[in-house]
């Protein structure tokens, strides 16, 4: 509708964080953009023949190869002398990025293509029914890592894909959240102004998969950041350049609004493990707002 490059009429669930993020990314990128999309919720909800919500040049090939197809698009544009004025964005969900597509992503980053890769992280294989992925957080209830009598859900922490991307020596690797939409657009614009491979991982709450009221997508996204469970960070040329500082909230505030964590709420031992993850993020990235200000006043 009006000037949006990801338009109305798509079949996303009501309150879908990924649909929102896709529009934010596209509007920030502008119409001189070619998008290569992996198979997943976003591709399926936006391109069911004969309807497409994309107002830009867009291609979908397979589940795991957006980064490689985009490499071919970029090479073709370079050959034709057109790369300067055209953005190439490769995108996919957490499953297609961190798991099955990690090899293609790694190759694209290593070769130094001028491509922005966007990962829409809803923390499971949502399109196929909420199965566990490499980006599913610790203790999350998914259909293939269910909570049960002998299990508290997913037993592994999130794969650190932004750091893996950064380790390839790329100029920009960042996380973002749909809970902070202007920040998403700022980071996309910033990335597209840099030459070379870029990676942005956007946290996109999923009302159906995470089990919360669709109205609260923004608030759930904000809580993930404000508890320290989803740090918003930017790496530039291998160094941590900026973080979003927080007044940390207890992880319980984030977990209690989602059905996928309800098995944790009555389990203090597991709750503590998750709080430890948040605390170690806060320490590692120096996220705590007060600590920064105190430090500044001491040095000042």
């Amino acid at each position: 509708m009006n000037n949006h490059l990801f338009t109305s009429g798509h079949t996303a669930c009501s309150g879908c964080g990924q649909a929102l993020a896709a529009r934010l990314v596209l509007d920030a990128a502008g119409k001189n953009t070619i998008v290569v999309n992996n198979t997943g919720c976003l591709e399926v909800l936006s391109t069911k023949f004969p309807e497409s919500s994309w107002e830009v040049a867009w291609i979908h090939s397979l589940f795991e190869n957006a980064a490689a197809v985009a490499s071919g698009v970029e090479a073709a544009l370079k050959y034709s002398g057109k790369k300067e004025s055209i953005n190439v964005i490769a995108q996919g969900g957490d499953g297609s990025t961190a798991d099955i597509g990690l090899q293609a992503l790694s190759g694209m980053l290593e070769r130094g293509h001028d491509i922005l890769y966007v990962c829409y992280d809803n923390e499971a294989y949502m399109n196929t029914g909420v199965q566990r992925s490499g980006l599913t957080p610790f203790d999350t209830n998914t259909t293939t890592s269910p909570a049960g009598a002998t299990s508290s859900g997913n037993i592994r922490p999130k794969k650190p894909v932004p750091e893996i991307a950064m380790a390839h020596g790329i100029p920009y690797s960042a996380t973002a959240s749909v809970g902070f939409p202007q920040d998403v657009q700022r980071k996309v614009k910033k990335a597209l102004s840099i030459k070379g491979p870029k990676y942005i991982q956007i946290h996109v709450p999923c009302p159906l998969g995470w089990r919360y009221d669709p109205q609260s997508t923004m608030q759930v996204g904000k809580l993930a950041v404000e508890t320290g469970l989803y740090p918003l960070i930017e790496y530039e040329n291998g160094k941590l350049a900026a973080v979003r500082q927080i007044q940390p909230k207890a992880v319980e505030e984030y977990l209690k609004v989602q059905g996928r964590f309800k098995h944790i709420l009555g389990n203090p031992a597991e709750l503590k493990k998750i709080q430890d993850i948040a605390d170690s993020n806060i320490l590692k990235y120096n996220l705590r707002l007060q600590a920064q200000e105190e430090k500044q006043s001491k040095e000042g």
């Binding site: 830009v56 867009w58 197809v69 985009a70 071919g72 370079k78 050959y79 055209i86």
Partner: protein, 393 residues
Amino acid sequence: MKEFLEGSHAIAEVIKLCKPGVISAYPITPQTHIVEDLAQMVADGKLAAQFINVESEHSAASVVLGAEATGVRSYSATSSQGLFYMAEVIFNIAGLRLPVVLTDANRAISAPINIWNDQQDTVSLRDAGWIQLYAEDIQEAVDLHLIAYRVAEDKSVMLPVMVCMDGFILTHGIETVDIPTQEQVDKFLPPYAPLYKLDVDNPMTIGPLVDPDYYMETRYAVQKTQEETLKLIPKVTSEFSKVFGRAYNGLVEGYQVKDAERVIVAMGSVCGTIKDVVDELRSKGKKVGLLKVTSYRPFPVQAICEALKNVPKLAVLDRALSLGSYAPLAAEVRSAFFGKKKAPKVISSFVLGLGGRDITKHSIKEIYRLLTTKELQQEFIDLKPELLKENYE
């Protein structure tokens, strides 16, 4: 210009003349020399292409898919395991109607691992929707690449083409080859003009989700195009002969078939050996012949039936298998004649040369001899039964 060249290098030379904008491949024996030569040409400024070194064949095929979809002619080469690793993308490229040209250096497939020549790799992907052309010698391999781009990019086709050349035998063999001039190639091969592409000034959505209400027609369209291409290929080879002076049918080639009593049907470099045996046996008064199949896909049913309808005995030579059933080429030749009024009385199937086992003139003579006996469902030639005994030493 005639040069004494290694097959791989000859292919690199002809690809250079086709001016692809994007080349992407992953190394696998015995394709490596083709891609290495192209890399050197790019490094020396002789070929203005983007040469993309990828981390797997799946990505090599994906890169050429993306490049072709952006309106730039592209090229890849692979073999055996590499072809299988990119198999998913192979089907995807045909389904998206992108006229990629790929060289496959025919090689046996794992397990067990074997790097030597047979045709199991490309024959196993015959269902993918690609056009498949098989070369008898290095000159034909060179010429088939030109024909491949011309056919693939034809507006009535828009399907990818796989040029199949026997690994080591043709890739590492050395022959006198006539490499065309750039002027000749430019005359024969117009620039790539896609029907649709990724274009920011004319955005399209490519590769949508297509549900049961819409899917079947896309597959029917590929089948229809393959059938129409049977008419196009001889037209293209006729144009080819006017520009380059070498004549091909493009679908099949009959050698001493007219009055033959026994004919072998085969694909690839083995046809050279068979021609030598035909000459030898003919000099002794035996009425034997060869039908070489060049275009395996689309399968030239009519051309085969026309050529062989009066031949009493056919031997179909397969260098591939369809494990659990009849050998692929044999099954298709038999099907071609089913229900036809004029057909050979005997169609015997022979499997040989797997995993690089040498096919000698003796093996071919054995096939002609076996054709005088009863019809054979599936006969393995040059098999070593002693190797089938349990032996763990």
